[in-house]
């Protein structure tokens, strides 16, 4: 089983049935695996705040949601995270590609990477960082934690974890 398939298998084990995605090269394998999983409704969104709205609705409709996006999205979604997801106390696992870390070829990505953890910290969002192969073993516990505490939770996955570009 590939890492991408393992991640989606953990989604399924934890009852996640509604996943929205914004495209990302690094998370392309996970997005493909989500699309192939018959128990998950995959709904691509055009912007990450829109995706968080969809996830909020799905949660209230009785389905466990998740969002897959890049770390640049943290800059886009601060207001939504604060006034929707957190204010109404909703769970939201956020599987995030941590662009701009070691092995990054594109300088501009670093500009958002240096703010990513600081912003998540400022927002009091529990944050986990998959850096080495095998770190995905914690995903199951992170998902259980997310739906226990009804909070948005960030899972940053960097290039070293994914084996480079």
């Amino acid at each position: 089983m590939s890492v991408s398939e393992k991640i989606v298998a953990d989604f399924v084990t934890n009852g996640i049935e509604f996943v929205t995605t914004v495209p990302c090269k690094q998370l392309g394998g996970v997005i493909d695996a989500v699309e192939k999983e018959p128990s998950i409704y995959h709904i691509p969104s055009n912007k990450e705040d829109e995706g968080m709205g969809l996830c909020a609705g799905a949660f209230m409709g009785g389905k466990r949601p998740a969002i897959i996006m890049q770390n640049t999205a943290i800059g886009v979604t601060v207001n939504t995270l604060v006034t929707l997801t957190q204010f109404y106390r909703m769970p939201l696992p956020m599987l995030i590609s941590y662009r701009g870390e070691l092995k990054e070829p594109v300088a501009c990505q670093v500009e958002m990477a240096v703010h990513t953890k600081a912003l998540l910290n400022q927002l009091n969002i529990p944050t986990y960082h998959f850096h080495k192969p095998g770190d995905e073993q914690e995903l199951d516990a992170i998902l259980k934690y997310t739906f226990m505490c009804n909070k948005p939770v960030a899972i940053l996955t960097d290039a070293t974890f994914w084996g480079g570009y």
Partner: protein, 184 residues
């Protein structure tokens, strides 16, 4: 007619449905006119009424009406292709289009000028798009409910506001009672 008069007109239709209501004055007006546990009032996050409503509709079978505004749809214009491509026949998007940002002091929107949200929704691929005048909103909304087809309604009205109190309910209470109605 202004938005609050449309909301007053359609409140008897709304009270039996799950409703997601747009931030600011629309929520405050509906809350004052006919507060229902089955209404999810948005207290923040301008633009996401349609996204939240579509999410609720896709997750379960009961009909969901998202009440939105022209300004809010313009804020989250990407929602219309998502709606068009993820058909939920239990979803109705009601855009009350008064051509202005009512909650912030009636500044004009582009929807009140050259841009037709009806045409935009159709161009995005939405299949059942109905534009109506304010006075027809109730009839058109009831027809959309009866059709059991996903429908986007653009109800054209005049801009203008009434004085309404802010909503002081705790957001978790709003969310919890809405979810109780979803599960009922």
């Amino acid at each position: 007619m202004i938005r609050s008069e449309i909301i007053r007109d359609i409140a008897p239709i709304l009270r039996d449905q799950l409703v997601v209501c747009n931030i600011g004055l629309p929520s405050q007006e509906l809350h004052m006119i006919d507060d229902q546990a089955s209404t999810f009032y948005m207290l923040g996050t301008m633009g996401l009424s349609s996204s939240i409503g579509l999410g609720v509709a896709l997750a379960q079978d009961k009909t969901v009406i998202s009440i939105d505004g022209d300004g809010s749809v313009l804020t989250n214009l990407g929602t219309l292709p998502t709606i068009a491509n993820n058909v939920a026949d239990n979803f109705i998007l009601l855009i009350i289009d008064n051509g202005s940002y009512g909650s912030t002091g009636d500044q004009p929107t582009y929807a009140g000028q050259k841009t037709s949200l009806t045409a935009v929704a159709r161009a995005c691929g939405c299949e059942n798009v109905v534009e109506c005048q304010a006075v027809e909103t109730g009839t058109v909304l009831q027809a959309a409910l009866d059709s059991k087809k996903m429908t986007v309604i653009v109800a054209k009205c005049e801009s203008g506001n009434i004085k309404v109190p802010v909503i002081t309910k705790d957001p978790v209470v709003i969310r919890d009672r809405f979810m109780t109605e979803v599960a009922r």
